[in-house]
Symmetry: C2
């Protein structure tokens, strides 16, 4: 969704080369808002607008652009011209950007960065996607234990311009080992006692995450503790960087969207729905659809074995969709509940037996309910079935629903146990499995109960 | 998931009434961690552990308990004993808690709160669930425009104990109209120039939300701007309170879980999966399952019209599940993509025509792919079908998949247009609708193409 409100004005300013007005536009608005108004511009127009402001403002606004526009601008502009801007981006965003742009542009750009930023970029690039190391930023206030409140405030004030947050400041020794934490809140509340040593105030039991921790785990930890940031350390407790609250929100949105896509049988998209190329979309949907198609084809193979039975008792055909959709829906419910509960940390693998008992109970209750309704419907629809024959449907429904709730409850946990993403076993895949089971159960019940077969 | 690591120690301390050790436990750990270790205790044990500490620490830890434990404790303890703790909770959490506990307990407790807290609670209670007003907290630093940096720091330092955050401080006039914002970062960076008037530093164009705004909209705004907090105002721009980053994370988790539940055809749960009473779970699942069951029953009614056709061409039965699941799966994909895109703000109602074009293209490509595969499968499985007759399956597949992608794309947008939650039109419901359409399409194609019918 693009905000087009100021596009005509911006283009007018560009056409008349009104530098003062462009600078005013960039400085008067919050950088996020300025970026929002610029999203509708082409990459070259956006770059021209940025040019009117000083570097610090350019960086602020650029950092709020959506990724596709960032990539387009960096690939368009001469590397030498844009290197300073790229160097001043927060380290985590810089690394993300360099990963996304054309490899040859990235290779030209990298040597143009100042040494410190280049080294940092290369180091951060090594952390695999999705780990704490890959989302952290290295710009964090490091303080010595020997400072007073006044000295700490002065030090933070001096460093502030280069820091993503000044609200949590970390105390390290000469070898960069993490010793403790002092928040800006603590500093401000001791404003009246500036000579207090920060060693007296600092919190020594700091909650940290390891650089190789999964970003989802990190986000959950920050959310549970209501932190603004969390420090990232290595095996030797060296302070590597921090992950801030806004990155955590991004992780939550990303993971929620990813889980939703998987629950809808789409390979997660990297970009927005409308931005994704239609061919990519066909591929990401087609892949999973094909897998589900193969599973569905197996239902045809299963039904093939019973062709003669349908000839003898034609009404059996009527309830095929009902049987498989009841099993699929109850299985979807169970899978969804167990997957979301695992994501939120409400259910651990150790709870598997409680989950099985719950889902068995659910299956009995829900299956029983549907069976009762099903019996009356079957009896009402069928002219040529005896009351005993009409029992085929309800008995099948109870069994299929129990099968659905159990599979839906257990498979995601099994997948987690095997180290796979439980979301792979969400609704459509559970439903695909239940479809086949449903048909086999239905026909076996029918063969067992109907004398005509 | 309950952390049982320290349960034996805590119970031992309680049994021996070791007040010093209990106090030590509460003060040495981060309150979130202390709360985590206490989750496994009974309400009366948890209350006994809290009693060992002073009120401020009790409030901190209590605020991190999961809601069920909070409710249990408040309902268990004498209202007079717990009133002080409840009064000191952040306003938004206090209001939530009073909503959850037994109504008679709440009515006893409310008059025991100090006048200011009582009034505040009554005022906040009026905001409907899910609005900005219902999640905001009223404890926010209010500063006058006439202060200097030094005076502002002193004022914030004095108020700090009662504030949820000191990182954003708001400037208001005598009538509490919001004038601007000054962050702790700005104060700290001007530590060296304490006589600077804050009027020179403050940001006057403050992004606000209205008390009646939807909490999802608010959360998206905070996330887009990378804010730590956002001020909530009324029609006259009076500052009512703020919503902080941790509340925003909670909103995102809540909404993501809710959407996932709806996509799995479960009425969203208020509590965790294992905490929810099994009877509530049966009800929340049974309701939606019954609606889907009625839809599935209509497939039986639809099939009933074609019973004689199945007698004449028995192999038509084989592909019923394949046809409906292909339609359902492609519809699920479209619904999921459009719903997540609308949640993220990537797709607006105005984009409907682009969505329709995309989904039509998707339907053609995906349907075409499945049809090709389907034709060969049908030809290979069927002994008694001619090459022309085997075309029934692929032609049906193309039409059903297009029907699926279009319904999946349009229905969620239509629901939003009607002011309903688009998530209601997620996978299972779209699939239910496509099931019926699929059967009708399949049989009509068959009747049109097969001379034997």
């Amino acid at each position: 969704m693009i905000n087009t409100l100021l596009l005509p004005e911006l283009r007018e300013m560009l056409a008349t080369d009104d530098q003062a007005a462009l600078r005013e536009f960039a400085s008067a608005l919050h950088p996020a808002r300025a970026a929002e108004f610029m999203e509708g511009l082409s990459a070259s127009e956006a770059w021209a607008v940025l040019q009117a402001s000083d570097l610090a403002k350019q960086v602020e606004i650029f950092d709020f652009f959506d990724e596709p526009l960032q990539v387009e601008i960096v690939e368009l502009v001469e590397p030498k011209q844009i290197a300073a801007l790229v160097a001043d981006l927060p380290a985590d965003d810089r690394v993300d950007l360099l990963k996304e742009i054309d490899r040859s542009v990235a290779e030209t750009l990298l040597p143009l960065l100042p040494l410190a930023e280049r080294r940092e970029t290369l180091r951060l690039r090594q952390f695999p996607e999705g780990t704490a190391g890959s989302v952290m930023t290295t710009e964090v206030a490091r303080l010595s234990e020997r400072l007073t409140v006044r000295e700490a405030m002065e030090s933070v004030g001096r460093q502030a311009e280069d820091l993503e947050t000044i609200y949590y400041n970390y105390i390290v020794d000469e070898n960069n080992h993490l010793q403790g934490l002092i928040s800006a809140r603590q500093l401000v509340t001791h404003y009246g006692k500036p000579e207090t040593p920060i060693a007296d105030l600092m919190q020594r039991d700091v909650v940290t995450v390891h650089a190789s921790d999964d970003q989802e785990t990190v986000a959950a930890k920050v959310a549970d503790f209501d932190f603004i940031a969390i420090p990232v350390v290595d095996d030797q407790q060296h302070l590597l960087g921090i992950i801030t609250h806004d990155d955590v929100i991004d992780v939550f949105r990303e993971e929620a969207t990813e889980d939703a896509h998987m629950a809808g049988a789409v390979d997660p998209l990297d970009q927005g729905y409308l931005e994704t190329h239609w061919f990519t979309l066909v591929w990401k949907r087609g892949l999973w659809l094909s897998i589900l198609f193969v599973a569905a084809m197996l239902t045809a193979v299963a039904l093939n074995n019973y062709e003669s039975d349908f000839q003898k008792v034609p009404w059996l055909v009527l309830f095929i969709p009902l049987v498989i959709s009841s099993g699929g829906n109850s299985g979807s419910q169970s899978a969804t509940l167990v997957i979301t509960a695992m994501t939120l940390g409400d259910v651990a693998l150790a709870d598997w037996w409680r989950v099985v008992k719950r889902e068995l109970l659910m299956g009995l209750c829900l299956g029983g309910g549907l069976a009762t309704a099903g019996y009356f419907c079957a009896f009402w629809m069928l002219d040529d079935a005896t009351p005993i024959e009409a029992l085929v449907l309800p008995i099948t429904l109870v069994m299929v629903v129990i099968c659905g709730t159990l599979c839906g409850g257990i498979l995601p946990m099994l997948f987690r146990r095997l180290g796979l993403d439980p979301a792979l076993m969400s609704s459509p895949f559970v439903a695909g499995i239940i479809d086949i089971a449903g048909i086999v159960i239905y026909m076996n019940v029918a063969v067992a109960m109907l004398e005509r077969l």
